[in-house]
């Protein structure tokens, strides 16, 4: 047993070293950096908690926090509802496998399209000049002569919708396989017991999926908090800071203003929040595993 362990470590050691170098070191560096005034001159000068104080004194901070909350909360709630709706429709109601697969395939397109291509598509769709897709339709219907600058006028709405569309496939596919795993007899029993379709969704499907729902919600929230690519590419947080979110602001501070220490401090605050979510996720997945083990 001991010997096996030693061997396992031996085999793993190159990997472990790599992980340490690539994952843990940057994390430590970020933490250290957050307490320095590191900028484009690359001088590691300790400044204590000055960066953090700056974050809270920044007049933009409240707006960014509110943006982040709106962005995450809206995306997550809409995504979850839509995920469940599609999963239940394609798995429980549409029994023909081919139709359901086709539908899920369509849902996956935004997810597998490269973010840059996807964002360019949106920019073209919503372009402010009269050649933009939406503007053509809009002007055609209303007869208006002035094109609307959609992205500038509705930046939050646009990034939220674009983000939701890329997120749907993951949850839908996850939920739909979870629905398939519910024993058929539970549905039969419920039908015999007099449950109508909506009641079956409410009393059989949703409760059976409750841990999957929790898991996906946490997982997606984590992604929304840390991944800013969609916003960066469509609005870049603008106009002004109208669609700036926390993670994107760290990027802006670090790479546009070259205030690495300041950017690291913002990231560190985000990491604190993210850690809470990660602990929650691991607790939920441990619970799911235990439940599945019980079911066997």
């Amino acid at each position: 047993m001991r010997k096996n362990n030693a061997q396992a470590y031996l085999f793993l050691s190159p990997f472990l070293i790599l992980v340490t170098l690539l994952y843990i070191l940057p994390a430590i560096l970020t933490v250290v950096m957050a307490f320095t005034g590191l900028d484009s001159s690359f001088e590691w000068e300790f400044e204590g908690i000055k960066n953090f104080r700056r974050v809270f004194r920044d007049p933009n901070t409240p707006k960014i926090i509110i943006n982040t909350i709106i962005y995450v909360a809206t995306c997550i709630s809409v995504t979850m509802v839509v995920d469940l709706f599609f999963a239940i429709m394609t798995t429980h109601f549409i029994k023909t496998e081919s139709t359901a697969s086709f539908f899920k395939g369509v849902l996956m397109i935004p997810m597998i399209t490269p973010a840059v291509v996807y964002s360019v598509l949106w920019i073209w769709l919503l372009s402010s000049n009269s050649g933009g897709f939406l503007n053509k339709i809009f002007m055609g219907i209303t007869g208006s002569q002035t094109p609307v600058n959609w992205i500038a006028n509705y930046p939050m709405q646009v990034v939220i919708i674009a983000k939701i569309m890329t997120s749907i496939a993951f949850g839908t596919i996850n939920f739909s396989s979870a629905i398939k795993a519910i024993p058929e007899n539970q549905f039969k029993a419920a039908r015999v017991d007099g449950a109508k379709e909506w009641e079956i969704v409410k009393s059989i499907i949703i409760p059976n999926l409750r841990f999957h729902i929790l898991f996906i919600a946490l997982w997606e929230t984590l992604g929304l908090l840390t991944d800013y690519t969609t916003i960066l590419l469509i609005t870049d947080g603008g106009p002004g800071i109208a669609s700036e979110v926390w993670a994107l602001s760290a990027y802006h501070k670090a790479f546009i203003s070259a205030k690495y220490g300041y950017g690291a401090a913002i990231s560190l605050l985000l990491i604190a929040v993210v850690l809470v979510f990660m602990i929650a996720i691991s607790m939920v997945s441990a619970h799911m595993e235990r439940r599945e083990a019980d079911a066997r």
Partner: protein, 370 residues
């Protein structure tokens, strides 16, 4: 009364699960659907429940045609093989679920659940989740859930197949008792012939989506309609000995005997005159002689087993393997043992009670032909 008429169910063009089933279930009777795996028992039950739509045919509850009704509109209770309890609900809410669907208030619901829980002796379990129950307890809970709405029909799909042998018998007796107390028309699906014999007033034997015989356990045991039923019912299984009917259909000859066809079989025997047949006889309706006598069949002994209350003596009669049970007595045991070891290991069999004759080709019971 429940009536099934010409019920047919084809899942696709190749799988015909049920082929023209006709069955009638009397009020307050307990009927078992018995047959090997894949013969269509569950399909029949699901059609009665309304969980499956038949391809053609009709189902009546009383005078009402329910063929196209949803399960919820049929007033049935159902117990599933794996119990199908709702894992996230407490036992009390599991049992109350059908009542909740009817829109019954919480107080009333729980009062009814407590009542039935008392009858099923599961009062102590009401606050647990299904995951915290043993198989037998889950079984009781699912029975309670099926009975709480006072259904017109109780359907049970292999309700005991997940239980160990001892518990099986205990629950079996309990199901029988509950059925008799409540008088609910009940249909149980099983592939265990012993279970069906013990519990049911009538048994329908299915094979390949067709009814082979629908009769009382006694008649199925003593007068099986065909070879399939004969092989399926009883343990040890019925013995089959090759023989033939004489050209005038009055005698059975073969295996060294020449028997006159008994009166009640004579009509059938005329029809099958001259044909190859199998004599079907239960192992306890044969007497064993150690000396050759007229009208006995010679059996070459192979094994003599002591089962405690009786001996199981087996060997070959011609080409047919035959088992005979002999009431146990020590001298006889020693005697048969010695014969089995000797170089002329023969005993002689005489039929002492009812036997059946089957047409070798079609398998039908000739004696039941009119």
């Amino acid at each position: 009364m429940i009536r099934i008429e010409k019920l047919r169910k084809a899942y696709d063009s190749k799988t015909v699960a049920l082929d023209s089933i006709d069955l009638t279930f009397e009020d307050s009777s307990f009927v078992a659907l018995l047959g090997p795996s894949g013969c269509g028992k569950t399909t029949t039950l699901n059609c009665i429940a309304g969980l499956l739509e038949p391809t053609s045919g009709k189902i009546y509850f009383g005078d009402k045609d329910v063929t196209m009704l949803q399960p919820k509109d049929r007033n049935i209770g159902m117990v599933f093989q794996s119990y199908a309890l709702y894992p996230h609900l407490k036992v009390i809410d599991n049992i109350a679920f059908p009542l909740k669907q009817k829109g019954m208030g919480k107080e009333e619901r729980y009062a009814k659940v407590r009542e039935i829980a008392k009858m099923m002796q599961i009062e102590a379990l009401l606050d647990r989740k299904p995951g915290q129950l043993s198989g037998g307890q889950q079984q009781r809970v699912s029975m309670a859930r099926a009975l709480v709405k006072e259904p017109e029909v109780l359907l049970l799909d292999e309700p005991m197949s997940n239980l160990d042998a001892r518990l099986k018998i205990e629950i079996r007796d309990e199901i029988r008792r509950l059925q008799q107390e409540t008088g609910i028309t009940s249909i149980i699906v099983t592939h265990d012939q012993e279970e069906a014999m013990a519990i049911a007033d009538k048994i329908a034997i299915l094979d390949n989506g067709r009814i082979q015989q629908y009769d009382t356990p006694e008649r199925l045991y003593h007068y099986p309609a065909n070879l399939f039923v004969a092989k399926f019912m009883g343990n040890p299984p019925m013995n089959f000995i090759d023989a033939a009917l004489t050209a005038d259909g009055t005698h059975i000859v073969g295996a060294g005997v020449d028997l006159m066809v008994p009166e009640h079989m004579s009509a059938g025997a005329k029809k099958f005159a001259g044909k190859a047949i199998k004599i079907g006889v239960r192992s306890h309706l044969i007497a064993v002689e150690t000396e050759k006598q007229p009208q006995t069949m010679e059996m070459r002994l192979q094994i003599v087993e002591n089962l405690g209350k009786e001996l199981l003596v087996s060997g070959m009669v011609g080409e047919s393997f035959v088992r005979v049970t002999v009431p146990e007595s020590h001298e006889m045991y020693v005697c048969y043992r010695q014969i089995a070891k000797s170089d002329k290991p023969y005993v002689y069999l005489r039929m002492t009670g009812v036997y059946n004759i089957f047409d070798s080709e079609t398998g039908v019971n000739i004696g039941l032909e009119k």
